[in-house]
Point group: C2
């Protein structure tokens, strides 16, 4: 088991992608007016791509246009002090191809927020890192 300098278990890329597929909620991290910004989103892992559904005029859609973003998901048990987190960093891209939009619309990616949300942002998981904490 590989540990980092903080004593946390370092997860393989394969394990990171497996964990990302187990949770419906993550957080997209970007820059908004030169300040760090973060927004929770529900998502679907499509191969090595993180697919997010949003409204076309949303702040998220504007701020992530052709930007490098980070995407984080985690799961912790605060009683046992165990859990994992995975972060992917990569280019965000709005999907414009109608056939691809149709394909993404058929993914199991429910819309949580009210209102029309037929705009898709895809983040390529170019760099992936993950840690697991084993608790007391």
């Amino acid at each position: 088991m590989k540990l980092d300098s903080s004593g946390l278990q370092v997860l393989s890329r394969e394990e990171c992608l497996r964990l990302l597929a187990t949770t419906p909620i993550g957080r997209i991290v970007f820059t908004d007016h030169a300040l760090p910004a973060v927004q929770p989103v529900n998502f679907h892992l499509d191969g090595q791509s993180i697919v997010i559904r949003t409204a076309i005029g949303s702040k998220l859609a504007a701020a992530t246009r052709r930007a490098v973003v980070a995407f984080e998901a985690d799961e912790f048990d605060s009683e046992l002090r165990t859990g994992w987190s995975v972060t992917a960093v990569g280019h965000a891209q709005a999907v414009t191809d109608p056939a691809e939009i149709d394909r993404l619309a058929s993914l199991p990616l429910p819309v949580w927020a009210p209102g029309g949300r037929n705009h898709f942002i895809v983040v390529e998981a170019e760099q992936v890192s993950g840690r697991r904490i084993h608790g007391r």
Copy 2:
């Protein structure tokens, strides 16, 4: 009830701080080598300050030195599609005053990760925003 353009309920600063105090885990969002970075941390809300305990040589300690960072916490129920998220943006600062370190060390802020962690980072919650999603 005030709604944003996505139909999510906008939370007051007071409600945001109340929610932050209910959860032990959040995520600190910063810039690492010019890329967006995010790391889960356990924390304690001390008045209007987010207190994080880390190791003095950690990447987090280095990257947040005198930086403006974002801090996010949330709680979602993926069955009901309900939940909330709160983001605070403010200056991060390493605590160097020995009396203040003693005071912070007495806060209910357990160390999850192994190893010595007597370095405290405080993020002032200068800008606070929060949303609640009410589900299906």
